[in-house]
């Protein structure tokens, strides 16, 4: 019976039913099977109003959307180019760094490819990088900053796994940098024979670019400095970011007319509403799973086959690659994390390390068919066939896969900055 209902739910999801409806249905089915009063689902959903740190999600999302509306993306590219464009493979490295920074602030929701790709893709091609390489690079960069504060998936993981978000912010620094460095080295090596045009060293241009970005430049310093030094709590940093972006983009720069503000709020809160809907209902489904000791059962099921931490990590990575290819990162976090955290603890995997491995593996999910978000956004934005985007992205995907393996099997990369 349970099996039949599960299959029905999966079919409904494949037909396009919203994920929250399937999560809500499975929670209600589970509870009613146990004879629990179904108003528990509403009580659990109300838990959204009892989790203080959730505030960070709407505020960071709004600030990120607002930031991507005006000229901030172009100024970020200009500044990175003035600072690094003279290096060999400079513009490729500029793309990686600019995209990573931007994604960290906008929450890996596909905004990066749309906002920065429009500037970077033509610039890369004009500088002599092949169209195929540029396409792959931009598509990959669209989710690159995921491991850096204050990215939305990091915050959501902390909430769902009940792990200190500050610790996660610290843990992501080295693994996130590793990904950028590996992709940069690959980009340089790949283009070693190509006649790419380098920028020239110009102090005047650098000064002018810094002046141009004078309103945005302090933002990462305030937010990251505030969070990493412990001066701000995460939700306070989010409030400061929202106010800062509102004041700088709307009042000082006046690039975004005030009358456009409700539109930006609507767009960003649509995403927040969609995330909170699955989060709220998964609070209910998770409480049911914990009630029937699902994590314990899962552990008992796998433990005869998996003896060591390394074995667990290998199976976990394979599992996450499949999950990442099917589910978006937010749904994957709220659905999968509550089940695997207790299991991982039994294998002595540190929850913070697990979080970084989880998100790093999910980053690959943005680039794998059938539903890799970045593939579709790129295909749509640059008007390329999806198969072409996929094959252009494949080498980058393999580079990232190596990074994910390193991150998984060298816990020190994640935990070094924690202790």
């Amino acid at each position: 019976m349970t099996l039949v209902l599960s299959i029905v739910l999966i079919v409904l999801i494949l037909l396009g039913a919203p994920l929250f409806s399937a999560i809500g249905a499975s929670a209600m089915l589970g509870f009613s099977g146990e004879g629990t009063d179904l108003s528990i689902v509403a009580i659990e959903f109300y838990g959204l109003a009892e989790t203080p740190v959730l505030l960070a999600i709407p505020l960071f999302t709004f600030a990120g959307f607002l930031l991507s509306q005006g000229g901030a993306p172009a100024r970020l590219v200009r500044l990175s180019e003035a600072a690094l464009g003279w290096l060999s493979g400079g513009l490729a490295i500029v793309s990686l760094i600019a995209c990573a920074l931007f994604t960290a602030f906008t929450g890996a929701s596909g905004v990066t490819i749309i906002a920065l790709g429009a500037v970077l893709f033509p610039a890369l091609v004009a500088s002599g990088y092949s169209e195929r390489f540029s396409l792959g690079l931009i598509t990959t960069s669209g989710s690159l900053g995921l491991l850096f504060a204050p990215s939305l998936p990091l915050i959501l993981y902390g909430i769902v796994a009940n792990v200190s978000i500050d610790d996660l912010f610290r843990a992501g620094i080295i693994p996130g940098t590793l990904m950028i460095v590996f992709l940069a080295v690959y980009s340089i090596w790949k283009n070693r024979h190509a006649a790419t045009r380098k920028g020239t060293v110009s102090v005047a241009e650098l000064k002018s670019a810094i002046f141009d970005a004078r309103y945005e430049l302090p933002l990462p310093l305030i937010v990251l400095g505030g969070i990493y030094s412990g001066f701000f709590a995460v939700s306070e940093a989010a409030a400061v970011t929202a106010v800062y972006v509102l004041v700088s983009e709307l009042l000082l720069r006046r690039e975004i007319p005030i009358r456009d503000l409700p539109g930006v709020i609507r767009e960003s809160m649509l995403l927040v509403g969609a995330i909170f809907m699955i989060l709220g209902l998964s609070l209910a489904s998770t409480s049911y799973m914990i009630g029937i000791e699902m994590p314990q059962r899962l552990f008992e099921f796998v433990s005869p086959y998996i003896a060591s931490e390394a074995g667990f990590l290998i199976v976990l990575l394979l599992f996450l690659l499949v999950v990442g290819a099917i589910l978006d990162i937010f749904s994957a976090i709220v659905l999968v994390v509550p089940l695997i955290v207790p299991v991982a603890l039994q294998y002595d995997v540190h929850p913070v390390h697990l979080g970084i491995v989880f998100l790093a593996a999910m980053e690959l999910g943005y680039l794998t068919p059938p539903v890799g978000l970045n593939l579709f956004i790129s295909s749509y934005r640059f008007n390329k066939d999806i198969a072409e985007v996929y094959s252009a992205t494949l080498p980058f995907l393999l580079v990232l896969l190596v990074c994910v393996l390193l991150i998984a099997f060298l816990p020190q990369l994640s935990l070094f900055l924690l202790f």
Binding site: L15, A239, M269
Partner: protein
């Protein structure tokens, strides 16, 4: 009209939350003072924002979904798939609305309070109402798809 109300409500809620959270930070750091109900009100504001945002996402068809069918199956499948999905979502949100209503009714009966001594049901009522409107949205979606035939 409905869309405008959603957008207006979300704007007021979000900007209000930003203002209140900022005020709290300023008071805490410079005046060592905190408004005692502010954090609770912010949390309830986030709940409202979540439900109204989800309602807006229902109107615009922007909920997180997988939807393999529209991408990988022949066109003749698209309509029946979309109708089934929308009707299912309508049924689930209707059920959620009913359960949320029972939750709020209990809260009313037991005279639960928030923010000091305000009635909790007045803040919780966004859940049953929001889910109910979402259910209506999904039904409208299903009807719209069926109508496309004619």
């Amino acid at each position: 009209m409905g869309r405008r109300i959603e957008t207006a409500l979300m704007s007021v809620l979000l900007l209000g939350i930003v203002a209140l959270a900022t005020l709290q930070i300023i008071l805490r750091n410079f005046f060592s003072y905190a408004i005692f109900w502010a954090d609770d009100l912010i949390r309830l504001g986030v709940l409202w924002l979540a439900v109204i945002g989800a309602l807006a996402a229902s109107r615009d068809g922007r909920h997180l979904a997988i939807g393999i069918v529209p991408r990988y199956f022949p066109a003749s499948w698209h309509k029946p798939a979309a109708i089934t999905a929308a009707v299912f979502a309508a049924a689930i949100t209707a059920l959620l609305s009913w359960q949320a209503f029972r939750f709020v009714a209990d809260s009313y009966r037991f005279a639960d309070t928030v923010l000091g001594n305000l009635p909790a049901w007045a803040f919780q009522v966004v859940m049953p109402v929001g889910f109910c409107l979402m259910s209506y949205r999904f039904l409208v979606q299903a009807v719209d798809i069926i109508k496309q035939d004619q």
